[in-house]
Amino acid sequence: MANEEKPKIKLAVYWGAACGGCCVSVLDVHESLFTVVEHADLVFWPIALDFKYADVEAMPDGHIDVTLFNGAVRNSENEHMAKLLRQKTKVLVAYGSCAHMGGIPGLANFTTKEEIFNRAYVTSESTVNPDKVFPRPEYEVPEGKLEIPVFYNDVRSLGQVVNVDYYLPGCPPQTERLVEVFMAIVTGAELPPPGSVVGALEKTQCDECKRKKSDNKKIKQFYRPWQIEDDGETCFLEQGVICMGPATRGGCGVRCIEGNAPCRGCYGPPVNAPDPGSKMMSAIATMIDSDDPGEIQKIVGTIDDPAGIFYRFSLPGSILRRKMT
């Protein structure tokens, strides 16, 4: 071991309601993993290491130095682990879009638990459930009581359940940003105030985007990306394709746009705009090229699903965090 004298930091990675991509993005450090392991002991990481919840429960409070919590809070297990890890961790990082603002699982806030259960266990084409059996959190069997987590009606971001020290956005966060943040913690560099977004810029995607932009954007019709032939160099919005760039933090290296796909907004809103969707509505509506109410409505009609597009990664963390029912 290279650094015998310097105590290693204790690192945990956990997933709530997540796809697993964030955990994999941690593995994407590739050979830097050796640097990570040189400086850190991984004490809990369900996707890669066989530690149990009981092992975490047995740790003294504040035992873990840094926890990267990815995923949203969708059920009682996610909530229990969020609270437990908060108690056991010095620096809790909301890692990725889902922990940051709810992410893709947060889109479930457009519906309800009842509708989801009905779809999943009754009406879906491959389901045969004539007795309408639904999952129950507790079930008595001869051998004893079986328990599964309680499915909640609302999806929440990590910050809506526990205090979060830092937010590291992205779907998933760019691995280079993670390494930067990790090294800052390890080397004892000065950290920003708790509650800050780290590993991202303060300015928007547009600030980093190299596509050609004019000051006077005019849109007569909105297109889905497949409906136009992108010229590869003009601003997507000027071509009528919705790009979340104006309402999204930079820091990812404009990877989607460099790959000729419009920004979808996974890095969350910039500093001065806590609600990305309303910021985007404000920006995009003014580009509509008409003064006539009828024509404006027609052009607005060409935006399929504005709520879903503008709040794709941020519904639970937004001002209106769920659909009214």
């Binding site: 009606n153 910021k279 509506a285 009609g301 504005p306 709520a307 659909k323």
Partner: protein, 144 residues
């Protein structure tokens, strides 16, 4: 809903036409529904979607935006920007399960005190019929 329900309506009025129009209604001693809470802004184009969404989230039952008539904007086209945002916002609100009628955009000039009073009375009745928006309790609850 119940007879005691008094809608809360937040009204954003532009400084140059609509606020002056509302002022005229007042100085002319016109009576109109007390349900409206007026916020003066420099231009209807200053009304960001965030203002509307936040007002509803914090307990407003309706939001009224008033600006200069088309072609009369003090800043040339602020009211057109507002008009475009208004139609997009209505579509968004419908998707969020909030009736689009809770948001209304009207043009009121500085001389239209009577029209302002009529709009407020009309909207108050319309929102009264819709009932309480009930958005704040749902957003506050963080239901599990």
């Amino acid at each position: 809903m119940s007879e005691t329900f008094e809608p809360k309506i937040v009204a954003f009025l532009c400084n140059w036409c609509s606020y002056t129009g509302a002022d005229l209604a007042g100085t002319s001693r016109m009576k109109y529904a007390h349900n409206v809470r007026v916020i003066r802004v420099m231009c209807s184009g200053r009304v960001e979607p965030t203002f509307v969404i936040k007002a509803l989230r914090e307990g407003a039952d309706g939001v009224l935006i008033c600006g200069c008539h088309p072609g009369d904007c003090h800043y040339h086209e602020g009211n057109y920007k507002c008009l475009r945002r208004y139609h997009l916002l209505q579509k968004y609100l419908e998707q969020m399960g909030i009736p689009a009628d809770r948001l209304r955009l009207e043009w009121v000039s500085a001389s239209e005190g009577k029209q302002f009073a009529d709009i407020v009375n009309d909207m108050t009745e319309q929102v009264r019929e819709l009932g309480p928006a009930g958005i704040k309790p749902v957003m506050d609850r963080l239901a599990v």
